[in-house]
Amino acid sequence: MNFYLPIAEMSANIFVFLGMGAAVGFLSGMFGVGGGFLMTPLLIFSGIPAAVAVGTEAAQIVASSVSGAIAQYRRKNVDIKMGVVLLTGGIFGSAIGVQVVKILRQIGQFELFVSLTYVTFLGIIGTLMLIESLNTMHKARGGKQVSARRPGQHNWIHGLPFKMRFHRSKLYISAIPPLMIGAFVGFLGAIMGVGGGFVMVPAMIYLLRVPTNVVVGTSLFQIVFVTAATTIMHATQNHTVDIVLAMLLMVGGVIGAQFGAVAGEKLKGEQLRALLAGLVLLVCLRIAYGLVVPPSELYSIGGVLGGH
């Protein structure tokens, strides 16, 4: 069954995108990640224009994060104050990101930029995760106690001005680092079509020293608001949010995620992380391959933007 996508301007088989949503939803449910970093490249590989993939994915991330955020909020795992500071920076970063997308599309370098950011971030995150999970597995086999969190020590971050008290996180730190981190993640999210949890979570744990029990909830909380703002900005600035495509991905995604969550419970944390690391590196390699292999067609054509 085919459906004409109004913004992507192509006729698409709805089962392909429902299936894609379900597959990525399954993996994100299993690994407990947003899945944007898998979905956006998949959409681009399947012929959706890169900018439409990124804009549409922002809307889908809102859908996949909102229920998680509410669940975390009920369990009181959200540091609202920290979340608001992060999302203030996030919306600012996202606004810059959306403008950068606009400019890069006009000069025809958006695809390249998306590919490069993906290769860089997926490469770094995938490698770090793989090393960490392999180490944990190795240590666990040796029977040693595994501790994820290093003892808290003061670093340069504690010397910055504009200190704020974050009760839920039991922190008294400057507002500057969370604002900066939020802005950076918001910027990445707007450009890559991701929620940015994969940068936000480690940054909160290792840079801000937020207790692990509130990290995921607070991260989800700010992702919902930042991706919602990103969706609206992409829709107004770039006209790249395809509502029909987003709905197909949402429906597939929420169903897939339920089965994925069940599957995820059967695996150990470090095994999951090793698998996820493998997946991240695969996507990274696939995108890198597309950049270095001589293309069969050197030319491409596109509409002139701004004159719609």
């Binding site: 085919n2 459906f3 004409y4 109004p6 913004i7 301007e9 192509m10 006729s11 809307a59 889908q60 809102v62 859908a63 996949s64 994060s65 909102v66 229920s67 509410i70 669940a71 009920r74 025809g108 370098q109 695809e111 390249l112 919602a228 969706t231 609206i232 900005m233 992409h234 829709a235 107004t236 006209h239 949010v241 509502i243 029909v244 987003a246 709905m247 949402m250 429906v251 929420v254 339920q258 950049l291 270095v292 292999v293 001589p294 293309p295 067609e297 050197l298 030319y299 491409s300 054509i301 596109g302 509409g303 002139v304 004159g307 719609h308």
Partner: protein
């Protein structure tokens, strides 16, 4: 005031649902006002102004040819005057048919006349880009902007066009891919001619790959002494806008007569609502997208929570 932990949920849900419904109800309203922007389909039978006319326009009083017989002329029409691009649009086919007035050919198979049908889409500006290897990466290194390139171009003829007329004649009437009019933006005029030609070829090649440029060398068939028809396929990705069909009647490499028609290609139904919504009211469209996303997330979480019990 403290509320029980769960009581805010139905309230939130109701509010969201209400807003969602309101937003939904807004779409037809918004798009109805936008409908005005769509002009009524232009008159269907017309000669295209601004193009050179070689064959004499049909005079009011019939003039006999040098051989004492009535001169031939061609009249044509299209099977449909307007094509609706709806959400389930997967491409369609239009039939261009016509007759040769005062036909002198003995049978349909005699090959006495040559008919060429050209279907032209709205010219639009495009950017063509060429990749080059920069530090090991294949990136878009050069680009050229064409101010006007037909978004769609189909050509059908009774036999290969090279056999029908000389290149100069074909070029004059813009028949064939080589004659497709592409004007480069003025600032790119200094580009080397061979480089320009490469870009041109690339545009044609890419458009052909997308089936937006098509050529059927035996796509026009005579059914009787004077009646002919041609099926032109419009792919799913055909850009919306008016299409102009040109029908040319040739004999021994000379143009005897020509006729033009137009077909309106426009978005209809849900497809049109959504497209107008997204481009005319982008901020509301964005907010609507967020509402749908939030509602989808909430519905999913309540559905599956119940399923778990």
């Amino acid at each position: 005031m403290t509320l029980p932990a769960n009581s805010w949920r139905p309230v939130l849900f109701g509010a969201l649902l209400g807003l969602g419904v309101m937003a939904l109800a807004l779409i037809p309203l918004l798009s109805r006002s936008a409908q005005v922007a769509y002009a009524a389909p232009p008159a269907t039978q017309q000669t295209v102004p601004g193009q050179p006319v070689a064959a004499p326009q049909q005079p009011a009083q019939p003039v006999l040819g040098p051989d004492g017989r009535m001169p031939e002329s061609v009249e044509a029409d299209v099977s449909t005057r307007s094509v609706a691009v709806t959400s389930s649009f997967t491409g369609t086919e239009i039939i261009v048919f016509g007759t040769v007035e005062h036909s002198r050919q003995p049978t349909a198979e005699s090959g006495y006349y040559d008919v060429v049908v050209v279907v032209d889409g709205t010219p639009s500006p495009i950017v063509a880009r060429r990749k080059a290897n920069v530090a090991g990466l294949w990136i878009n290194a050069n680009s050229i902007r064409f101010d006007k390139v037909p978004s769609y171009y189909a050509i059908a003829s009774t036999r290969p066009i090279e056999e029908i007329a000389d290149p100069q004649v074909l070029d004059k009437y813009r028949i064939g891919f080589q004659s497709v009019h592409m004007s480069a933006a003025p600032q790119q005029a200094q580009l080397a001619p061979e480089e320009m030609a490469e870009y041109r070829q690339a545009v044609i090649r890419l458009k052909e790959k997308d089936q937006l440029y098509q050529k059927k060398e035996t796509g026009v068939a005579f059914i009787g002494r004077s009646l002919f028809r041609s099926a032109i396929s419009l792919p799913a990705n055909v850009p919306v806008g008016p299409l102009v069909t040109h029908t040319y009647l040739f004999k021994d490499g000379k143009l005897l007569s020509r006729h033009s028609n137009s077909v309106m290609l426009q978005r209809e139904g849900l497809e049109r609502y959504l497209h107008n919504f997204a481009f005319e009211y982008p901020i509301f469209y964005g907010i609507f997208a967020v509402f749908i996303a939030v509602a989808a997330g909430l519905i999913a979480s309540t559905l599956f929570k119940r399923g778990a019990h």
